[in-house]
Every structure is written in C-alpha cells, then in structure tokens.
C-alpha cells in the first residue's frame, strides 16, 4: 500500500459558467509518479493547476472542494498561497525562462523567499553552491557552467526546459507538478527530462499530466484517468493498464478512443 501525499476531495472547477472539473476525488501517493491521463479537454491541466492554486490566477475561474497536502487543506481559510506554491513546484509544457541570466533563473526562487539572507551571508558562495547543485540535478550543469551569467533566452528549448526544472527544484518542493513537460521537446531532450523525473521520485512526489499513453506507461506508478471533467478510474498503474474496471478506461488504454 502507498502513503498518500495529496488527497483530492470532491474538487470542482469552473471557467466562467463552464464546469471543467465535476467533483474529483483521488489520491496522489508519496514519492511516486502519478500520471493524470485522458483525452484532450478532459480537465487534466485544470486539475494539475488546482494542486498549487495556480488556476485562480486566471480571470473568472472558481474552485470548490478540498486538496489535502500532508493533512492540510490548501483551500482552507488562512492558507498562504505563496507557501503552498513553495511546497508544490511546477514545470510547464513550454519552457518560460525568466528574463534574466541562467544563474539568476535558478536563484530566483531562493531570492524571492529571502532564503539567501540566511544562506548567502557574505560572499554568496552558498547560493553559488545551490545553483550548481540544482543545475546538476537537472542535468544542465556541464553545458552551462562557463556561461552562468549569460541570458537564459540564449539556451536551446531543451536546455531551457531543464533550466526550468532546476529553477523549480531549487525551491526544494515536496511535490512537483509537470504539465506535459516534454511536449515542446525533441525526442532526445524529452528522454533526458523523463530520466530526471525518474531519478527525482526518490525524494519528491511527482504529478505528471500527459497525453502520451506510452509516456504514462514508461513513467507512471499511479494513474488518474479523467473523462470530460469526471474521474473515471484511479489506482496503481499496473491495475489501470491491465485490469481496468471501467469500459472507457479499457478502451482508452487500448488506444481505441481519445
């Protein structure tokens, strides 16, 4: 059995008057990769963006229900949303390097949280070490170590995505949300990101939105299968892929629909 890190309970979401999530209840096990799968428009990304409360930053969105992160409801009263987002990191489908240097991109999260004040006293060596550590963790260090202070926009798309991974990891989140993180990448870069994710699950809970069934098969330990904003089935990957209960799940994983 697994230990749930996140419990999603009766989660509903609306864009204007359109309901995108119709009461989702599911668990995300700790230190595993949970893949959210389903056809286009089924609410995969919406669900993911509810897990770090990013959905509410868009105009005219509304969320109800609970998301328990280690027993605390992130939609509860008095919750500091910046703290939620510090604990739950995110990797977007397209890399968006911040308009600053490679170094500053990785240091950004630390700096906005004022962490450098305790760690970085004096000559900044600690921040240097952190930046190096997470660039290594993202598999980018060797390629950029001689040009850390060049603008991040000069990197290739694949490198930018690894930079975004390093940037997210540098805040040391417990959970990493990945929204189709390889969709803009060439196959080699995509494979690199997949390997990083597999290595990361040792200490991090990963939630992965993917429209690629094969990617879900390669990476996922646990599956959440959505259909038109509803949860159809959730459980260990083994079970979903080989002995699904629901007709739609069987048809989807067999590649007959969606």
């Amino acid at each position: 059995m697994y230990k749930p890190h996140i419990r999603i309970e009766d989660l509903k979401a609306w864009y204007g008057n359109g309901q995108a999530l119709k009461g989702i209840t599911a668990d995300v096990p700790e230190h595993q990769i949970t893949a959210i799968i389903g056809p286009s428009g089924c609410g995969k990304t919406t669900l993911l963006r509810c897990l770090n409360r990013l959905l509410e930053e868009a105009q005219a969105t509304r969320v109800s229900g609970h998301v328990w992160l280690d027993g605390t409801d992130i939609y509860g009263p008095g919750v500091d949303v910046t703290e939620v987002r510090t604990r739950v990191g995110m990797l977007a489908p397209k890399p968006f390097p911040l308009p600053m240097s490679i170094y500053d991109n990785v240091a950004y999260g630390r700096r906005i949280h004022g962490l450098q004040r305790t760690l970085d006293k004096g000559n900044g060596r600690n921040l240097d070490r952190i930046v190096q550590h997470y660039l290594q963790a993202a598999g980018l260090w060797e390629e950029v170590k001689d040009r850390l202070h060049d603008p991040a926009s000069g990197l290739s798309t694949g490198q930018q995505q690894r930079l975004c991974l390093a940037r997210a990891l540098a805040v040391e989140p417990e959970v990493l949300l990945c929204d189709e993180p390889t969709s803009a990448l060439d196959p080699i870069s995509a494979q690199g990101i997949e390997e990083q994710l597999l290595a990361l699950k040792e200490g991090t809970t990963i939630v992965l939105v993917t429209h690629l069934l094969r990617q879900a098969r390669r990476l996922a330990d646990h599956i959440i299968f959505l259909w038109m904003g509803e949860l159809v089935e959730t459980g260990p990957a083994e079970q979903i892929f080989h002995s699904a209960q629901d007709e739609r799940t069987r048809a989807y994983v067999a590649g007959n629909i969606g």
Partner: protein, 326 residues
C-alpha cells in the same frame, strides 16, 4: 438541367472567369498603388515639413549666428535681437516637470490595470481613460486657469516656499500661480492617458506563462510584476513614456494658458516660463512688419521639431542598446 449546364459550362466559365480574373487583378494592382501612394505621402510629410520650415526660417538663420539664436537670452524683436534660449528652456522645464509628475502614477496605474484589476473594472476604466485623451486641450487650459493656478498661488507656493524656500528650485519672486508648475501639472494630466493606454497594452502583452513561472515558485504578484513582468515589458513601457514626452513637448494651448508667458529663463518651478509652442501660437500673424520676425517664429518651430525628433532618436538608440538580443 445537368446536361444543359454541362454543355454551357465552357461558355459560362469563359464569360465569368476571363474578364473577372482580369478585373480582379486590375483592382488588386490599383488598390496596392493607391494605398502605397498614401503611405508614401505620410512618410514624406516629416521631411517636407522640415524643408519648408528651413526655407521660411532661412532669412534669420543666414543673418544671425546659430550660437546667438540658440544661446542668447535677449529677445527684443524690435531691436532685432532674437535669442531663443528662454523659450527652449521654458519648453524643457515645463516638459520635465510634467514628466516627473506624470510618469510614476501612470505606470503604476497601467500595472494595476494590467496585472491586478478584475476584467470588469478594466472594461470600465479603459474607455474612461481613453476618453480623457480625447478632451480638447483648451478645456484642460481652462481647468488649469480656474483650479491649478489659484491652488498654486494660494496654497502650494506659500506652503512649499515657507518650508523649502531656501532651495533654489522652489525660490521665486513670481507671486501669481502662473508658471512652470502650473504648466507641468496641466501637461501631466494630459499625458496620463496616452502613457497609461500604451503601457497597459505592453504589460498585458507579456506572456502568461512567464507570470505563471514566477507565481508557481511562490512569488507574490508584486514580486512577479517587479522582477519578471516589468523586466520583460520595460522597452515597451519606455516607448510609452517617449510617446507621452513627445506629446508634452508639442502641446500648446493648455500650456500657453497657464505658464505665464514671460520670455525669461526659469530658475524655479514657480517662475513663469514661455515655451516655444506658446511663443509661436501667441505671436504668429501679429507684428509681422518687424523685420525677420516671421522668420524667427518659423525658426522657433524648426527648433521645436528638432527637439522632438532628437528626443525620439536618442531614446530609440538607448532602447536598442539596452534591449537584449532575443
């Protein structure tokens, strides 16, 4: 029916398509020529205007050394002395004060509208701000005379001079409210809407993915705006400010009504000033029998044009230097 149509089809096609095709191509050609000519005409306006000004100002440009025209403070047309320095400084003072007053609040307003305001508030606020840009400048001038000038005369000048009277910037023997500050305030209100409108568009054009990236790291809205959004948007924001600056430099009517119009170099924000635009508007068409007077006023217009063009070119060069290559 079908058979008839099949039989007729070569005819139909011939009748329809050959002349039609030719007509379409002809219309396309003429549309392109017509629009191209209009564009060319607009582009040529600036050099034509400058050339006309040079020709009309030539008598005085030939008769007086340029250094005297630009740097002499003696403006006595009847004695044949034409020093534009007080007017150039008047324009620069009033514009500088206007921009100092206008830029910070309009940028913060633009940021609020683009980043914080809910859609409904923006839908109401944006048209109202655009409307502000459409109010005729004489209305702003009247407002300045009725409200700003008395306020400066009765409250602002006494209060500031009472506490900071020793600072040269605030020291003045001009007891009326008419002066640089009044002109600056009126101009500031006039350039607000154009700076806000352009800056808001520019800030909104920053991709949401960039905002999400910063927010998802736990940054607050303000941290995101300051460190990410504005860093990305600032060349466009600078362009918005330059647009406001150009408008402020050229604005005539409202300024003329409140700056006091004294041909002296201002030394304080409470001194009267006489910007180039006001000089031209007040005097052109009068006293034209004075020798060289007509040429002098057109030289003033030329100087104003050069100042505006100079500011635009300089700021564009700075922008190009400072904008990192993509």
């Amino acid at each position: 029916m079908q058979a008839i149509r099949t039989w007729l089809s070569p005819l139909i096609r011939a009748r329809r398509s050959a002349p039609r095709q030719a007509g379409r191509r002809r219309r396309e050609r003429w549309a392109r020529r017509f629009m191209g000519a209009l564009t060319l005409g607009t582009v040529l306006l600036v050099p034509l205007l400058a050339a006309a000004l040079v020709v009309r100002a030539w008598p005085i440009l030939a008769a007086r050394p340029l250094s005297e025209l630009l740097f002499s403070t003696d403006w006595h047309p009847l004695k044949g002395q034409f020093g534009f320095y007080p007017f150039i400084m008047g324009t620069l003072w009033v514009t500088a004060v206007a921009m100092i007053i206008a830029v910070p609040p309009s940028l913060l307003t633009a940021i609020f509208l683009a980043e914080y305001a809910p859609e409904r508030l923006r839908a109401v606020a944006k048209p109202l701000i655009d409307l502000l840009a459409g109010i005729p400048s004489v209305v702003y001038g009247v407002w300045g005379m009725l409200t700003v000038v008395p306020a400066i005369e009765r409250y602002i000048a006494p209060a500031v001079q009472g506490s900071l009277g020793a600072v040269p910037l605030f020291r003045s023997d001009n007891p009326t409210g008419y002066g640089v500050l009044a002109g600056g305030v009126v101009l500031a209100v006039m350039v607000f809407p154009s700076i806000i409108a352009v800056a808001e568009e520019v800030v909104r054009a920053v991709p949401d993915g960039l905002r999400d990236a910063s927010l998802a790291l736990g940054a607050t809205r303000w941290q995101t705006v300051r460190n990410v959004v504005m860093r990305r948007a600032w060349p466009g924001v600078a362009a918005a400010v330059i647009l406001g600056l150009s408008r402020a430099l050229g604005e005539t009517m409202a300024v003329l009504m409140v700056v006091g119009n004294m041909p002296r170099v201002p030394g304080s924000i409470f001194d009267a000033a006489y910007p180039l635009t006001a000089l031209i508007a007040n005097n052109y068409g009068e006293m034209m029998s004075i020798p060289l007077y007509d040429a002098a006023l057109l030289a003033a217009a030329l100087i104003l044009l050069l100042i505006v063009v100079g500011f635009n070119i300089a700021s564009r060069l700075v922008l190009i230097r400072l904008t990192p290559a993509k």
